[in-house]
Amino acid sequence: MSDILLQLDGVSMQYGRGETAITALAGIDLLVRRGELVAVMGASGSGKSTLLTVAGGLTPPTAGEVIVEGHWLSQLSARELATLRRRSLGFVFQDFNLIPSPTALENVALPLELDGWTSTKAHRPALDALNIVELGDRAQHFPSDLSGGQQQRVAIARAVVGGRSLILADEPTGALDSTTGELVLRMLRSRVDAGAGGILVTHDARHAAWADRIVFLRDGRIADESRASAVSSLLAGSPA
C-alpha cells in the first residue's frame, strides 16, 4: 500500500472568465503521506480554503489532478466521488458543523450510516472514535450540552471514524480559546501519528507549528515551505 494519501499535481483554480477572472490556485504540487500533518498558511485570499475544498473533492480544479489514496478524482463519477469522500476523507471546520438534534455518538456514526451501515453496527466504531478523543463518557450528550472544545473533538472523531485516513481541517481552532485549541491540535496530531494524514489550514502560527511541514501560499502559489527537523537543536528537552 502506498503511503501517499493525497497528491495535488499542478492544481489550478480559477473563478470567472476573461478580464474579471480570479486565480485562486496556480499550479500547486503537494503530497501528504501517512503520518504527516501539513499546515497551509497564507494571508486572506491567498488560496488556503480553496486548496482544502479542491483537495477534498468538493470542487473540481480548473486544471491539474487531485489524487486521493490512488484514485484520480477527475476519473470518478459523482457517485464514486461521494463514496470516496465518505470513506477516505474527514472534514473539520471552524464552527464544528455538528447536527444539533442527534447525540454526539449519532453525529460520529452518521458518515458510516450514510455509507449503508446499520445504526447498531455503526455505533461501535463511533464509540471507539469518541474514546480516542476522550469523550466516550459524553456519547449520549447533545452538541448543545458540550463545550466548544468538546464539540470540536466530536468533529475530529467524526472525521476519523471507520478508519478514514485523510483529515482536512479548516481553522479548526478558530472558535476556541488558546488552551482548548491546543488540546484539539494535540488530538489531531495524535490521530496523524497513529497513521492518518492531514491538511491543517490556519492563520495561527502557534497552531501551524504542530505540523510536520508548513507551506506558505501567496497569490495561489506555494511561496515557501518550512520542514521541522527530526530532532530539535534548540533545547535540551524535557526534564525527567
Binding site: 494571508a43 494535540r186 492563520h203 502557534r206 507549528a209 530539535s232 537543536s233 528537552g237 526534564p239
Partner: protein, 202 residues
C-alpha cells in the same frame, strides 16, 4: 540582571556552593540558558561585595558554602514584587533589518519577510515538537521547563504575527504609493553639536 537575582533567590532557600548553584539554576529553567561556573563565581563575588551574601562554612569535601544576608533577602523580596522592565534600548535586530531594508532600492521586502517567516516557523515547529513530548507537568521541574518553553513559543508566535502584519502594512503602503526607497540625503549633517537656537522671547 536576572542571573544575579535568580542566584540570590535560590540562596534564600539555604546556603549553596558554586557548582550546586549552577545545577539549581539549570534545573529550574529547563537548562535553556546554561551558566558557566565562571559566571557563577563572578556573580557571587559581586553579591558579596554588595553585602547581599557572605561566605559560610566549608564542608568535609572542601566546598565553600555561601549564605544570603538580610540585605540579600530584602533584594529577593523586591525582585519578586516588582515587574521586569524591558527597555527599548535593547536593539531588535530583526526590526532594524526590516526598517532599513524597506528604505533601500532594489530589495524584495516580501522575500525578506518570507525568508524570516520560514525560519521563525521552523523554530516554532521545533519548540512545539519538544513541548509535545510532555502533556501535563508531573514535577515542579517540568512545570518550570514548560513555562520557559511556552515563553519561547509565544515569542516566536509574536514574531510570526508581526511579520504577517508587516507584510500587509507593506502591501497597503505600496498601494498608496508610500513604499518608495529613500534616496540618500545630500544635505550632509554638520559635525559636532547642533547650533543653539535662540528661543523666541528669550
Amino acid at each position: 540582571m536576572s542571573v544575579r537575582q535568580s542566584l540570590l533567590a535560590i540562596l534564600n532557600q539555604g546556603p549553596c556552593y558554586g557548582y550546586q548553584l549552577r545545577s539549581e539554576f539549570d534545573r529550574r529553567t529547563g537548562s535553556t540558558w546554561p551558566l558557566n561556573v565562571g559566571q557563577i563565581y563572578n556573580t557571587l563575588d559581586r553579591l558579596e561585595r554588595d553585602g547581599l551574601v557572605r561566605k559560610a562554612d566549608i564542608d568535609a569535601e572542601g566546598q565553600n558554602y555561601v549564605e544570603i544576608t538580610d540585605a540579600g533577602r530584602t533584594e529577593v523580596a523586591e525582585w519578586l514584587g516588582s515587574p521586569v522592565v524591558r527597555t527599548l534600548a535593547t536593539r531588535d535586530e530583526l526590526a532594524i533589518k526590516l526598517a532599513i531594508a524597506v528604505t533601500l532600492p532594489g530589495v524584495d521586502i516580501a522575500q525578506v519577510i518570507q525568508v524570516q517567516r520560514t525560519a521563525t516557523m521552523r523554530t516554532l515547529q521545533e519548540l512545539t515538537r519538544t513541548k509535545n513530548a510532555t502533556t501535563d507537568p508531573e514535577s515542579s521541574e517540568q512545570l518550570a521547563w514548560l513555562l520557559v518553553i511556552d515563553s519561547l513559543i509565544f515569542a516566536a508566535e509574536a514574531e510570526a504575527r508581526w511579520l504577517d502584519h508587516s507584510e500587509s502594512r507593506l502591501a497597503r503602503a505600496r498601494a498608496a504609493g508610500f513604499a518608495a526607497p529613500l534616496p540618500l540625503n545630500t544635505e550632509v549633517p554638520k559635525r559636532g553639536r547642533p547650533a543653539k537656537t535662540v528661543q523666541a522671547g528669550a
